[in-house]
C-alpha cells in the first residue's frame, strides 16, 4: 500500500496530466456535438454577459459600416416597393404560334391583394388600362389558370379569381378533349367541381383538365387541375367530379395577363354568324 502511494507520489505529474487530459476529452466529446443545456446554462450566461458587454462597446466602432449596410438595404427595399415600378415595369412578352397563326401577348403583373377565404374572391393586380389590360382578359400564372379580368382602372385591374361563384371555366379532359365546365362551389380553395361530364365517359382520378380554348379569354391548354374523385349520380344526365386546382391561390405573387390579339376578329366573326 505504501509502495503504491510512493509510486503515485513519484509519478504524480503523469497521473495528474492523464486525469486533466481525460476530463478535457470527456468535455470535448460530450458537450460539443450536442450542446447539453444543463452544463451550459451558467457558463453560457457568464460568457454571454461578458460578450454582450464587449459588443455594446465594440458596436460603436462599426457604426459607419452599419450605416452603409442599412442605407443599402433601404435603397434595395425601396426599389422593391410597388411604387417604384408602376410606370417603368411594363414588360410584355409575345408568343407567336405559327401553327395556328395566332398571337397572344402576356403582361406580367404583381398581385396587390388577394383573398381565398370568401365565397367570391377577387385579385387586384398592378397593371391597368395604361398597360393594355382590358376587361374579359384571362389571367394565368405560368401555365396555370388564375381568373379573368373583370374591371380595369388606369393603373390597376380587378381579377375575378377562379374562386368565385360567377366563375365558370370551359375546360376539357386532356386525354380525349371531352368538354366540361369547372366551377368553384366554396369551401377549400384547393378544390373545385367539374360539371357536365357525360354518363358514358370513364373518369379516372388523376385525369388532367385543361382550358378548352372555346372562349376568347384563355388560350387552349392552360392547366386547370386534376380529378381528385368523382360521384356517379344515377338520377342526372351528367356526372360530377371533384378537381384539385393546379394553382395555389393562396401564394400568388406575380401573374400574367393574357391578351388575345385576334379577339376582335373572332368576336366579329361570331357576331356575323349570329345576326344572320
Amino acid at each position: 500500500m505504501r509502495n503504491l502511494y510512493l509510486f503515485f507520489r513519484k509519478h504524480y505529474f503523469y497521473f495528474l496530466f492523464l486525469l486533466l487530459e481525460t476530463v478535457s476529452l470527456i468535455l470535448v466529446f460530450n458537450y460539443n456535438d450536442f450542446q447539453n443545456a444543463a452544463v451550459y446554462t451558467w457558463s453560457e450566461q457568464a460568457a454571454g454577459s461578458v460578450n454582450s458587454m464587449f459588443r455594446n462597446i465594440s458596436e460603436y466602432f462599426s457604426l459607419r459600416n452599419t450605416n452603409r449596410v442599412l442605407t443599402e438595404e433601404i435603397a434595395q427595399l425601396q426599389s422593391r416597393m410597388p411604387e417604384a415600378f408602376y410606370k417603368a415595369d411594363t414588360n410584355t412578352f409575345f408568343l407567336r404560334d405559327t401553327m395556328y397563326k395566332s398571337e397572344y401577348r402576356y403582361i406580367a403583373a404583381r398581385v396587390i391583394s388577394n383573398t381565398t377565404a370568401k365565397r367570391n374572391n377577387f385579385i387586384m393586380i398592378n397593371k391597368g388600362r395604361m398597360h393594355g389590360v382590358q376587361s374579359h382578359m384571362g389571367v394565368i400564372i405560368g401555365n396555370r389558370l388564375v381568373g379573368q379580368v373583370v374591371g380595369v382602372s388606369r393603373n390597376f385591374s380587378w381579377v375575378m379569381s377562379l374562386l368565385n361563384k360567377d366563375s365558370r371555366i370551359s375546360g376539357k379532359f386532356r386525354k380525349n378533349n371531352q368538354l366540361v365546365n369547372v366551377e368553384w362551389t366554396g369551401g377549400s380553395y384547393r378544390y373545385g367541381t367539374v360539371r357536365e361530364i357525360p354518363k358514358h365517359f370513364e373518369i379516372v382520378p388523376g385525369d388532367t383538365i385543361i382550358t378548352s380554348g372555346n372562349s376568347e379569354i384563355f388560350p387552349e391548354g392552360i392547366l386547370v387541375g386534376t380529378i381528385e374523385d368523382f360521384t356517379i349520380s344515377p338520377d342526372e344526365n351528367f356526372n360530377t367530379a371533384r378537381i384539385l386546382f393546379s394553382t395555389d391561390f393562396n401564394s400568388l405573387g406575380y401573374v400574367e395577363v393574357v391578351i388575345d390579339l385576334m379577339r376582335k376578329e373572332k368576336e366579329d366573326l361570331k357576331n356575323s354568324v349570329q345576326t344572320k
Partner: protein
C-alpha cells in the same frame, strides 16, 4: 509573483476571447496568444501548479468560445510537455530563482526553440481535436503551421514589448 501571474491569466483570457477569437485570416489562421501564460510561468513553478493552471486557462477560454474541453486539452498537453522541453534544450546551467523563460535571460535561439515546440504541440492538439477526422489531414496541418506562425509572431512581439518596458 503569484498576483502578477493571476493578472496575466485574466488579461490573456480576455484578450483571447474578446479580440483574438474574432481574428481569422482567410479562414485558416487564428492566433492563440493565451498560451503565452504557460510560456511565461517561472521556471520554479511546481509541476502540479503548471498542469492545473493550464487546465483552468484552457477551460476559461473554452467557456467563452463555446468549445468546452478543446482548449483545456491542448493547454494541458502543452503544460505537460514544458518541463521536458526545457530540460531538452537547456545546457544544464541553473536558472535564476524566480525568473521566467525570456529572450533576455536565455537568448533568442533558446527562447525561439522553446516557444516553437510548445506552440506547435498546443496547436496540433487543438486543431486535430477540433476536426477529429483524418480526411482533412493536410488542410489541418496547414492551419496548424500558419496559426503557429501567427501566434509566435504575437509571442515575440509581447516579449519585445515587455523588454522595452523594463
Amino acid at each position: 509573483m503569484t498576483l502578477k501571474n493571476i493578472i496575466r491569466f485574466v488579461l490573456l483570457v480576455l484578450l483571447q476571447v474578446l479580440i483574438l477569437n474574432h481574428v481569422s485570416l482567410g479562414g485558416y489562421v487564428n492566433p492563440y496568444l493565451y498560451v503565452l501564460f504557460i510560456l511565461w510561468l517561472p521556471f520554479s513553478t511546481e509541476r502540479w501548479v503548471l498542469l492545473i493552471s493550464a487546465f483552468l486557462l484552457g477551460f476559461a477560454v473554452d467557456i467563452f468560445s463555446n468549445t468546452l474541453g478543446l482548449n483545456a486539452a491542448a493547454s494541458v498537453a502543452m503544460a505537460f510537455a514544458r518541463p521536458f522541453v526545457i530540460s531538452m534544450i537547456s545546457t544544464g546551467a541553473d536558472f535564476e530563482p524566480g525568473s521566467r523563460p525570456s529572450i533576455k535571460g536565455q537568448g533568442m535561439r533558446w527562447f525561439l526553440s522553446y516557444a516553437v515546440i510548445l506552440v506547435l504541440i498546443h496547436h496540433t492538439v487543438l486543431f486535430y481535436l477540433e476536426i477529429f477526422r483524418f480526411s482533412e489531414f493536410f488542410s489541418t496541418l496547414l492551419r496548424v503551421v500558419l496559426s503557429a506562425i501567427f501566434t509566435l509572431g504575437l509571442v515575440l512581439l509581447s516579449e519585445y514589448l515587455t523588454i522595452r518596458k523594463k
